[in-house]
C-alpha cells in the first residue's frame, strides 16, 4: 500500500512537474510576442512653469523652475546676430560674441577658462541671423560665483587685439573648411540667392570679410547691440523669479543700457525660380538643395508645415528617404527641414547623391513635391506623421538648454506665451486638407534648386534640364547650360 501510494504520488508529481516544465519553456511562443503592443495614451509634454520680469536696465529675466536637480542652466540671449553685421563685415557678430569670453578688465582669456572649469561650468555660443545665445551649465552650489563671472564678461570686455587675431584666424579656417563641404556651401549659396536683394543676411559669412574686422568694429557692434535692454537671461534650476532677479541684477548691474536700433528684416515672398543654379566645386559627392520661402515661426500654417515636412522628408521613414535611398538607391540620404528667421521661414530639402544620379534626384524630388499638390494624402500616412512629431517633441527638448532655448524663441520671435504648451493640441488639429492647402500655397511655384559639386562630372546626368546657371566658389557666373549644351560666360 505504502509503495503503491508512493508510486501514485510519484506519478502525480512527475506529471505535474512535466506540466510545469512544459508550461514554462516548451510551449509555442506566447501570443503577445506575435504583434507589437498597442501604445498607451500619449502623455503630452508640458514645459516647466515660466516666470518673467524686466530689470531697471531693461534686461529681461526668465526663470524655469526645476526642483531637486544638482545643475543649473543659464542662457544669455542677445537679440542681434549676423543680420546686424554690416554687409561688408559679415562674421562680425560671431567674432564679437566670441570675444566676450576672451578677456575682461580683471581676467585674461586663460583666467576665464580656468575660472569656468573651477566653477564647473560648461559653456557654448551659438550665433544665428537674429540672435547670439550664450549657454552655461554649472553646479548649483556655484550659482552666485557663476553669475558674477558671466556678468563681468558682458560689462567688462577688453577686446584685446592679440585675442582678436586668434579668434579671427580660427573663424577664418572654419569658414574655409565649410566652403569645401558641398552641402554646407550649397546651403549658404541657396540662402544667398533666396535672400538676394532683401538686405537681410541669414547668417552667410564671406571668409574674406573676416580679415577686415578690426577692434573698432567689434567695440562698435558690442556697444550698439550687446546691451541689457536688447537681451534676456534665462535661468533654469531650483530658483524662483524674485531670487533670480535679485542675483542677476547684482551680477549684471554694470552692464549699461543704450538705445538699440533694430536692423530691418523684410518678409520674403514665395517666388517662382526659372533656372537651376549649379555651384561648381571639386568634390566626389553632389548635394542638392531645393526650397522656397514659407511663413514664419508662429504663423497659423506652422503646425501644418511641420506635418508636411514630416511627410516629405522629416525622418528616414518619410517619402524622400524611402523613395530616393531605400527604393532607388539614388542618394546617400534625402531629408527636408524647416528653418526660421525673423519674419521668414524656409522649407528646404537636402539630398546627398553622386554625379550620375543627380539629374534623376532633381526629377524625383520635384515629382514628390508635385504629388502633394494633386493626390490625396493617405489618412494613415498623415496619422503616422503626426504620431512621429508628437512622440519626438519631448526628445527634441530633453536637455534643459533645449527647453530654455525654445522659451527664448518665444521672446525673440514674439510667439504666444503658451505656444509650446499647445504644440500637441495644434498638431492634432492638422487635417489632410490643411496640409494640402499649405502644400499648394508654397509648392505651386518652382522652388530654388541649387546643386553643388563637380559640374563636369554631373553634366551627363543633367542633359534633360532646360537651363542651368553655373557659378564658381566666389559666386561668379561662369557658364550656362541649356539641355546639356554649355556656354561659357565671358563676363
Amino acid at each position: 500500500m505504502k509503495l503503491g501510494g508512493n508510486r501514485k504520488l510519484r506519478h502525480c508529481l512527475t506529471g505535474l512537474l512535466l506540466l510545469a516544465l512544459c508550461s514554462l519553456n516548451l510551449q509555442p511562443q506566447e501570443r503577445f510576442r506575435r504583434n507589437p503592443p498597442y501604445p498607451e495614451p500619449l502623455n503630452p509634454m508640458k514645459f516647466p512653469p515660466v516666470e518673467s520680469g524686466v530689470l531697471s536696465s531693461g534686461l529681461r529675466v526668465v526663470t524655469m523652475t526645476r526642483l531637486n536637480k544638482p545643475l543649473f542652466d543659464l542662457l544669455v540671449i542677445v537679440q542681434a546676430g549676423e543680420n546686424d553685421s554690416p554687409r561688408q563685415l559679415s562674421g562680425l557678430a560671431t567674432v564679437t560674441a566670441e570675444m566676450l569670453l576672451r578677456g575682461t578688465l580683471s581676467l585674461s582669456s586663460s583666467a576665464i577658462e580656468e575660472q569656468m572649469e573651477r566653477l564647473g561650468i560648461r559653456g557654448n555660443i551659438e550665433v544665428g541671423a537674429d540672435y547670439i545665445i550664450y549657454s552655461f551649465s554649472f553646479l548649483e552650489e556655484n550659482l552666485e560665483d557663476v553669475l558674477r563671472l558671466v556678468g563681468s564678461l558682458f560689462y567688462d570686455p577688453i577686446f584685446s587685439p592679440l585675442e582678436l587675431s586668434a579668434v579671427k584666424r580660427d573663424f577664418y579656417y572654419q569658414q574655409l573648411a565649410r566652403k569645401k563641404d558641398p552641402e554646407k556651401s550649397g546651403y549658404d549659396f541657396f540662402l544667398t540667392r533666396l535672400f538676394a536683394g532683401s538686405g537681410y543676411n541669414p547668417g552667410v559669412i564671406d571668409e574674406e570679410s573676416i580679415r577686415n574686422i578690426s577692434q573698432k568694429d567689434v567695440i562698435s557692434f558690442y556697444q550698439r547691440f550687446i546691451r541689457p535692454n536688447n537681451s534676456l537671461v534665462i535661468l533654469d534650476g531650483n530658483i524662483n523669479l524674485n531670487n533670480a532677479s535679485r542675483k542677476i541684477s547684482q551680477a549684471f548691474y554694470r552692464w549699461i543700457p543704450r538705445p538699440v536700433e533694430p536692423t530691418p528684416a523684410p518678409h520674403l515672398t514665395n517666388l517662382n525660380y526659372q533656372s537651376i543654379v549649379f555651384l561648381d566645386l571639386p568634390s566626389p559627392d553632389v548635394s542638392v538643395i531645393i526650397g522656397n520661402a514659407v511663413s514664419p515661426l508662429g504663423s497659423s500654417d506652422y503646425h501644418a508645415l511641420l506635418v508636411l515636412n514630416q511627410l516629405i522628408g522629416g525622418s528616414p521613414a518619410s517619402r524622400l528617404f524611402l523613395n530616393l535611398r531605400e527604393s532607388k538607391g539614388l542618394a546617400y540620404y534625402a531629408f527636408s527641414q524647416l528653418s526660421f528667421f525673423k519674419n521668414n521661414g524656409l522649407f528646404w530639402i537636402r539630398v546627398k547623391s553622386s554625379p550620375p544620379s543627380v539629374g534623376q534626384v532633381v526629377k524625383d524630388v520635384m515629382s514628390q513635391l508635385n504629388s502633394l499638390l494633386e493626390a490625396r494624402i493617405d489618412p494613415l500616412e498623415l496619422e503616422k506623421a503626426k504620431a512621429y512629431l508628437a512622440g519626438n517633441f519631448p526628445l527634441e527638448n530633453q536637455l534643459p538648454e533645449q527647453r530654455a532655448k525654445r522659451i527664448g524663441f518665444q521672446f525673440i520671435y514674439q510667439l504666444p506665451f503658451d505656444f509650446w504648451n499647445k504644440y500637441y493640441e495644434n498638431l492634432l488639429m492638422v487635417s489632410s486638407e490643411k496640409v494640402q492647402e499649405v502644400a499648394r500655397q508654397y509648392f505651386t511655384r518652382q522652388p530654388l534648386i541649387v546643386i553643388s559639386g563637380d559640374f563636369q562630372a554631373c553634366l551627363d546626368s543633367l542633359r534633360e534640364i532646360d537651363r542651368i546657371e553655373v557659378y564658381n566658389q566666389k559666386g561668379q557666373l561662369t557658364a550656362s547650360c541649356e539641355k546639356g549644351v554649355v556656354k561659357n560666360e565671358t563676363r
Binding site: 514554462l24 511562443q29 507589437p36 500619449l42 521613414a317 519626438n392 519631448p394 526628445l395
Partner: protein, 454 residues
Amino acid sequence: MIAYKKRQNRRLWLAGAILVFLFFGSGAEAIEAQETGFPYPLSRFKLRNGLEVIVCEDSSLPLISVVVTYAVGSINDPENKAGLAFMMQHLMFQGSQNVGPMQHLMYIQNAGGELNASTTFDKTFFYETVPSNQLSLVLWLESDRMNSLEINEAKIARIKELMLANEQQRSLQEPYARYFFLMDQILYPDFSYGHSPLGNADNLNNITVGDVLAFYRRYYVPNNAVLCLSGDIKAQKAKELITKYFETIPRGDEPPSYPQPDFSDVYSSRDQTIIDPLVSTPALEFGLRLDEPLSEERPALRLFEYLLINGKSSRLYKLLVSRERVALYLSGNLEDRRSFMSLKLFLLANNQIMIDRSKKLIVDELNKFKLELVSDRELVRAKSKHRFDFLSQLTATNLDRALALSEFYLRWGQLPDLNYELAAVNKITPYSILSLSRKYLQEGKYCFVTILPR
C-alpha cells in the same frame, strides 16, 4: 532494495522541491529600492532567468530610455575571428522571429523615438529613447531579439560587406584611427585585449554561421545582461511589463569568466615612427599601461586624468597647446579596462620638430607629478570639473543616466552611491596624487608612436 527505495524517496523529494520552487519560488526577486543620493528613486530586481533590472524613475518629461547591455565585447572575439562581437551588434537589427529585418528601426522611428547600439571591448549596448507611452513596444522588440534572433548565411554576408565597406571608408576619412589600435596592440600584447574590435577582411571571412549562432547562444542570454529603464515609469509597473516580456526567455549557460591575461612588462616597441601617405598632418600617440590599480586608487586616478589632460586648464593642454604652441590639437584620457587602465594621448603638430618637442614636454610634465605636489588651486579645479561631469552624466538625459547606471552595475555589481562616489574624489589630497604618480608613472613604460606624412 533499501538503497533503491532511498533513491526513490530522494527523487520524490527532489521532484517535490522542484515543484514547490516552480510554483511558489518562480517569480522575480522583489524590487529593492536603493538609497543612492540620486535625485530620482532608483531600484533594482532580478528575474528568475538571471536578467538584472535597474529602474530609475524620473517623471519630469514623458520619455523613457531603455538600455539592454550584454556583458560581451571584442574581448570575447575568438582568435582569428576579430570583429565577431561587432558583427553581432549589426545582426541584432536584422530581424527576429516576429520582427522583420530593420523593422526594429522603423518601429522606433515611427513612434518618434531614437535608437542606437555600440560595442566596447567588454560590453555591447542597445538603446532606445521613446515617448513613455511606447515603453511596451521597446520591451517587445528587445525581448524578441534576445529570445529569437534569426541568423542566416545571407544576413551574415550582407553585414560582412557593410563592415568592410565602412572600414574602407573610415580608413580614408579617419586615417589616424588604425594607430589607436596599434597602441592597443603595444600596450596589451594579447589577442583578446589588443585586437581591433572592427575586425579585418581575413578575420571577418573566417566567421561562419555556426560561430555567430554559438556566440549569440553563449552571450546574448538574460543571465549575461542588464536591462535599465530610466524615465517616466514607476518601478512596480516596470516590473510587471519586464516580467511579461522577458521572464520566459530561457536562461543560458553561465557565461565564461572574464579573461585575465598576464601581460609581459616588455613592450614590442616603445618608440616607433611610421610614414603614412594617407595622413596630412604629423601626429603623436602616447600610451602607458597601469597594471591592476587598487579600487581605492581609482578616485585619485580619475582626478589625475583631469589634472593632466581633461579641460583647457589641464597641465598638458595649457603647456602644449596654449603656452608652447607645439600642438595644434590634443586629446587624451585614462581608459579603464577592469584590471588594467591606460593613459592615452593623441596630438597633431605642424612638423616633426614640434612632435619631438612635444615628446620631451610630455615626459617632463609627467615627471613633475612625481617630484612636486599639485597646487590646491589645480586640485579644486579638477574636482569641480569632475563633479560637474559626473553629475551631468547622471542627471542630464534619461539615456546618459541609463547608460552610466548599466555600465556601473556591470562593472561593480551594484548601483552607484552618488554621495560616496563624490566624497571619495573630494577626499583626494595633493599627497594622494604624488604617491600615485610615483607608483604608476614609470618612464621605462612610456610608449610613443609618431605618424608622419610622406
